[in-house]
Chain length 157, copies 2
DNA sequence: GCGTTATAGTTTCAAATGCAACCATTGGCA
DNA sequence: TGCCAATGGTTGCATTTGAAACTATAACGC
């Protein structure tokens, strides 16, 4: 009989990351889910629209920035627009593209949720000491490079 | 006008972890999905059954070990059993409980998939140097403690 | 200019997921 | 013993998700 060398799931890196990530996301999600009827996808859309405000993003750009696929973005935006949280217009000069912006209502939600999200992050990082935080930063940069901020003039002429 | 202090999604820890985790899981999942028609949930069940073999786990125990809820386990096991990949019997002495074991077919899949999973992990860790790996280990232990191996005699009398 | 190809975004259908209700069995305990 | 609560597991239903097909518009090549 061969020795099967079973995988030790609980030490397996992708598994542990998955658990950690789900635990965190769910904890945060619960909050704005309950208080604003806001799903994770919708929150992400709001977050990037807030960050790259003033330019009016196309859905595709939102997709790139949120790591969601275009279908997910489309649906999230549809819900947000229906709730009057984002304003969707059509790009003049390219009528395929949409131009998305937060409405006042959208901004209000952002301003309410963002601090809580940061608080969650802070709580999480509080479990680490300064060294560990620095290393984590560095390790994440290697494993999952954060994309550089978008260049406005290249994306929306 | 208030300054909105937008959340920088791409530096937000839970977000980055989520991206990383999804990227990894999907990369691995694609492989056994295509080659064995095996979903993530099913693979996880196989992994824990392999690891705690010889004891015959109850579904509830599988759920604990995989961080899946009991419904997900139930369905994964149903598919696996239907495909002849796990053997499901009833616990003598407690007829509510099931006793789950890998069949030869199940073991074959495990033995085919496990090395590839490990290879993925290796590739990932290869991007880090020894220091970084050690710190990652330590950080993960703090943020998402790996549960200690199950004590056989306590769980299956 | 006209046909072809590419891109933005939406819709549709199937599969995955989650939740609550449910059935069966067991364990407590009066 | 005989009830009631707790546990293991499954099922039904509603929601979410993903992949591919589809619509509309724009860009390209000749």
């Amino acid at each position: 009989m061969p020795d099967h060398a079973p995988l030790e799931l609980e030490r397996f890196l992708p598994y542990r990351l998955s658990i950690l990530s789900n635990t965190l996301s769910q904890a945060i999600a619960r909050e704005y889910e309950r208080r604003f009827g806001l799903g994770v996808t919708e929150w992400r859309v709001i977050a990037v629209l807030a960050r790259y405000d003033g330019e009016g993003l196309a859905a595709r750009e939102v997709a790139e920035r949120t790591a969601m696929d275009k279908v997910a973005v489309s649906r999230a935006v549809a819900r947000l627009a229906a709730a009057g949280r984002v304003i969707r217009r059509t790009h003049r000069g390219d009528r395929r593209r949409s131009v998305l912006r937060l409405s006042a209502k959208g901004w209000a939600i952002h301003d309410a949720v963002a601090p809580r999200a940061r608080a969650h992050e802070r709580d999480l990082l509080a479990r680490l000491d300064a060294d560990e935080r620095a290393w984590l930063e560095r390790i994440l940069d290697k494993l999952a490079p954060a994309r550089p901020p978008m260049k406005a003039h290249l994306t929306d002429r």
